[in-house]
């Protein structure tokens, strides 16, 4: 069985989600190269910006019922350092590496993409949906028009595989249609949900960030299903996948591939177990996938 997201061929439909496996420098501590090649269809890097970003002050995390609020604030070493210090080892794994990019303006995104064109990098996921930064991020997702301009601009200079990662809130359908019109290759649905939690009372500490994990799966499953019925672009699902069953359900509603995020935090080997469960489910119920989406 081969898996396709539009023109992109993957060995499995499982993709490691941005920001949930660090910068990749320690992944081989937990997974062998064979395991990676056999179980993982693609790797998506941590969100990368032009300049290094220190990220947000603590508290950055709060566990909620079956979920996680994070407010990392896109801590990353910047695209240049990443390309030099972290990317080579990932490239050697021989699994497609997709660059998750964060810009605060169309211009910054274009600059980021130029770096990638130079390095002959073939996959990009535009992060227009991070809820944890004051500039850029989710602000884009409020305006289908701005998103259209952004994606069109990137498309003009980038010939590789172009994914846009949407926010689950705001005018999602309109943004999705704008991406289609601007000739994106696929959509990731979705990033985390804007959330808030009280970390402690005395001293009073609150966190505003993005909610991920199994709590949100019913919401993102619905969103994926709704968008698929209205937008003819391949959809990569991202939200609350912990088991092969979760992946199978996203495939059932029509997703082309599925990202594994928070699960990697719970257990760095989750993707291996998910892959095993998925294989079994495909054997038993795979024919359901050919029957059209419920």
């Amino acid at each position: 069985m081969t898996w396709k997201i539009g023109s992109l061929q993957l060995k499995t439909p499982l993709i490691l989600a941005s920001g949930t496996w660090g910068l990749g420098d320690t992944i081989l501590d937990y997974l062998s190269p064979e395991e990676i090649i056999n179980s993982i269809g693609a790797l998506i890097t941590k969100g990368l910006s032009l300049e290094p970003m220190a990220g947000n002050p603590p508290p950055r995390l709060l566990e909620t019922p079956c979920g996680l609020i994070n407010s990392i604030g896109l801590e990353n070493p910047g695209i240049e350092v990443f390309l030099k210090r972290y990317y080579p080892r990932l490239r050697d794994l021989e699994v497609p590496v997709i660059f998750n990019l964060h810009g605060t303006s169309v211009d910054e995104f274009l600059k980021l993409v130029r770096y990638l064109e130079e390095e002959n990098i073939r996959g990009v996921e535009l992060n227009i949906s991070c809820p944890n930064v004051t500039e850029g991020g989710i602000a884009f997702s409020q305006s289908p028009e701005v998103v259209f301009q952004l994606v069109k601009g990137v498309r003009e200079i980038f010939s590789g595989f172009l994914i846009v990662k949407l926010s689950p809130v705001g005018p999602v359908l309109e943004v999705a249609l704008a991406c289609k019109e601007a000739a994106a290759d696929a959509l990731t649905i979705a990033n985390t949900y804007p959330a808030m939690g009280i970390v402690s009372y005395e001293p009073l500490k609150v966190i505003k960030g993005g909610l991920s994990g199994p709590a949100i799966k019913p919401l993102t499953l619905r969103l994926v299903s709704d968008i698929i019925s209205k937008v003819t672009l391949p959809i990569i699902a991202s939200g609350g996948v912990l088991s092969g069953k979760d992946v199978f359900e996203y495939l059932l509603v029509g997703a082309s591939a599925v990202q594994v995020g928070t699960a990697n935090l719970i257990n760095p080997r989750s993707v291996i177990e998910i892959h095993e469960e998925l294989k079994e489910l495909l054997l038993r119920h795979g024919r359901l996938l050919d029957k059209g989406h419920p």
């Binding site: 508290p59 994070n70 719970i266 760095p268």
Partner: protein, 255 residues
């Protein structure tokens, strides 16, 4: 994650437990004092969602021991497990205690923060143990656990309780402070609640003692994957407690 089996899970005090896990030699050889372990509850229930981190308390007898206190649903659920239960653990995590600890050494523990000092003392040669003072504070006598065990090392044990039911009445940091004038410690290694760590940093600030603090925070991954467990770094940016720590030079971090 690795599979392991519970050999014993024993209450030492009302809310403090000693968990003993079976491990193989291979794994044992990878462990150093200061490392921590993430323990997954052995069921399919998704709340709590994340395995909890615990310092390695002891390796005596070739078993991995964890000393833990019930504070919420994860630790409560752990306390209800019985011998024979199979568990998944992720270990070793974090960096060991620094290898350049100087002697005389002050170990300062608040509550179950004492846990990691077991494995440390087990690894020290006799002469270094003798040059070590363990300051151990808790709310009351009942929460000072394993005193017999601590005494086997031949360290000097100084106890403090908030209610005065054992040892000095007050904070363990008061004990430390009043000793600082007489004793010439080369290093301090402290583990306990944040107010204690802050106080130790203050106390040590005026001295030349190399002071290390073992930090805690909620951890989603424990592996450096999420970048969520940060402590501000002197000079800008952040350390990640799980991958750069959990033990830091007090001077390097901002509390």
């Amino acid at each position: 994650m690795k599979s392991t089996r519970i050999l014993e899970n024993r209450a030492l005090a009302e809310r403090i437990y000693l968990l003993t896990l079976q491990i193989d030699e291979d794994l044992m050889n990878k462990l150093s004092p200061g490392h921590f372990v993430k323990i997954k509850l052995p069921d399919q229930r998704l709340d709590p969602l994340f395995p909890r981190p615990y310092t390695i308390h002891s390796l005596i007898g070739g078993h991995l021991q964890v000393l833990y206190q019930i504070v919420g649903k994860g630790t409560r659920a752990l306390s209800q497990l019985t011998a024979g239960t199979d568990l998944e653990i992720l270990v070793p995590l974090g960096r060991p205690f620094p290898r350049d600890l100087g002697y005389p050494l002050a170990l300062v523990a608040g509550g179950v923060g004492v846990a990691g000092f077991g494995f440390l003392l087990e690894s020290l040669p006799q002469e270094k143990r003798k040059e070590t003072i363990l300051y151990y504070g808790a709310s009351s006598k009942e929460s000072l656990v394993r005193l017999d065990y601590w005494e086997t090392f031949g360290v000097t044990l100084k106890l403090a309780t908030e209610d005065g039911s054992a040892g000095y009445k007050g904070f363990v940091t008061d004990l430390l402070q009043s000793d600082l004038s007489e004793r010439k410690f080369k290093s301090i290694l402290a583990c306990g609640p944040m107010p204690m760590l802050k106080r130790i940093k203050e106390i040590a600030a005026n001295s030349t003692i190399k002071t290390y603090l073992s930090m805690e925070s909620f951890m989603a991954c424990g592996t450096g994957f999420c970048k969520g467990c940060v402590v501000p770094r002197k000079g800008g940016g952040y350390f990640h407690i799980c991958e750069d720590g959990p033990t830091f030079l007090a001077d390097d971090i901002i509390l």
